[in-house]
């Protein structure tokens, strides 16, 4: 089921410069959501911005009926979002899209997250650990002030490795270097990736070479967010091998790395 609801904001607090965490009371959505899915959020009571904003579900608490979002203020919509006060209402549609998947066979997996792409990997890690997997959480950011949610991964019990561009926290370098190391030392059954496009491309390349199955979460500008407008497509190889477009909002945002085609 997909819902279009007014939900109550329980919390909306700054967690890092530019990053906010918002908790919504949305039991219907929390009951059905899976990691990797997202919501389409109305950021203003007026007709500007006109389009809703896609924000991934970062944590799902089905028991308490809450959904946590983590977002970065980058433009007018997220700015309006950051000004909303707990107790007020916000219109959301969701849960949308196909989330991450895992199979019973998998034993050791890695999640690779960069920037605000780390957000949806929290819920994923929680589920993977519940399912008894060993999880490497490889997190990257420009600097310490932009590194999201690392303590959640530690609390959950993942093996956390961190890289920052300037070395202000964790290793100096890219998160892909961490992945390379893990691949070289450990037999990974699956990699999950969410982050900026250059990172995603590098992760796809590495896992392909290492023959490790990989799932990537993609972003594209969205109109409807539900699959109706064909606005958010990405190029994929169809089963017969020809190129075609799939909808990030509906067929994704999570794709297997083998099907997506990146333009250079």
């Amino acid at each position: 089921m997909v819902y279009s609801l007014k939900t109550r904001i329980l919390e909306n607090k700054k967690i890092l410069p530019d990053f906010y965490e918002m908790v919504l009371s949305a039991s219907a959505i929390a009951a059905e959501a899976v990691p990797g899915q997202f919501l389409m959020i109305k950021t203003s009571p007026t007709q500007v911005p006109f389009l809703r904003r896609p924000i991934s579900i970062s944590r799902i608490n089905a028991e308490e009926g809450t959904i946590t979002l983590v977002y970065q203020v980058v433009g007018s919509g997220t700015k309006l979002l950051s000004a909303m006060t707990p107790g007020s209402e916000i219109e959301v549609v969701g849960p949308l899209g196909n989330g991450f998947t895992w199979s019973e066979k998998d034993k050791v997996v890695a999640i690779v997250g960069g920037g605000c792409g780390i957000a949806p990997l929290v819920a994923l890690t929680e589920e993977l650990l519940k399912a008894g997997k060993e999880v490497y959480a490889l997190l990257g950011a420009q600097n310490r002030d932009k590194l999201l949610s690392d303590r959640y991964f530690i609390e959950l019990g993942a093996k956390v490795m961190i890289a920052t561009d300037n070395g202000s926290y964790g290793r100096q370098g890219f998160v892909t270097q961490l992945l390379e190391e893990v691949i070289n030392t450990t037999r990974l059954d699956q990699v999950y990736c969410c982050g900026p496009l250059p990172m995603t491309k590098a992760v796809v390349k590495l896992t392909k070479e290492a023959l490790v199955p990989c799932q990537v979460s993609l972003e594209e500008r969205m109109g409807c967010g539900v699959g109706a407008c064909l606005g958010c497509v990405c190029k994929v190889r169809s089963e017969e091998g020809s190129l075609t477009y799939k909808k990030v909002c509906h067929d994704g945002p999570v794709f297997t790395s083998s099907e997506v085609i990146f333009d250079d």
Binding site: S4, F50, G227, C229, L230, V233
Partner: protein, 304 residues
Amino acid sequence: MINLAVEVAGIKLKNPVMTASGTFGFGREYSKFYDLSLLGAVMVKGTTLEPRLGNPPPRIAETPAGLLNCIGLQNPGVDAVIKEEIPWLSQYDVPIIVNISGHSLEEYGEIALRLDGVPGVAGLEINISCPNVKHGGLAFGTEPQMAADVIRTVKDKSRLPIIAKLSPNVTDITEIAKAVETAGADAISLINTLLGMAIDIKTRRPVLSNIVGGLSGPAVKPVAVRMVWQVAKAVKIPIIGMGGIVSAEDAIEFLLAGASAVAVGAGNFYDPLAPLKVIEGIKAWLEQEKIADVRELIGAVKIC
């Protein structure tokens, strides 16, 4: 009892609220939100003879109170639509209007022919905003003669009601409207998107892959209402009004201007329940104003 039913081009609608082509797919997605039988009609995604890939992303750019799109008519082609989509959508008790596009008169004719007699299809909406390859890429919809030719061609090949969907990017919309009326159109849809452009100042590139795209949403509503009003005075066939409708008030504005029915387009993105809210809002408003029949509103704007 309040009457919400209207008839457009011989198609009987439970209420005057449709969903606009290209904003509602073939109905599958929004069927997860509500029962599609509640709608006046569904106008499905623009359908072409052959499957089309459409334009590369980005295909959407947000603009003040609206959006630009350059989807580029991505669709599985008319045969797949007949085989996969129409049968599925026919399970709902809602008239299906198929929006069709072609690069040549022959293409328009052929699609119309294939859709003729397909169970569930209630009418054809002819998108004449497409570039005509034979005439150097000029859109069919910007020249009265060319627009009329398209309508005559599809009328010839199909017994279905024919709705001409006009482009607003013209000097005189009434000229085109009169031409398609004379050519036999049973109704007119107004408006398609306005041609627009947005530039990302950081990258210095157009936001859309196709450089330019179609503007729709509340931003264009005043242009759409004006064109509906002008065309309603100029022709006798009914008009389906669209352009920026998100609320019942918006829809009523179009009805007063002269539309016999309306369609919600980008409004579906703004609020997936928008079409239902428009229907319920019209009903509530009629009750409040003690108007027994929605048809009393059609063209009822008072000019003095």
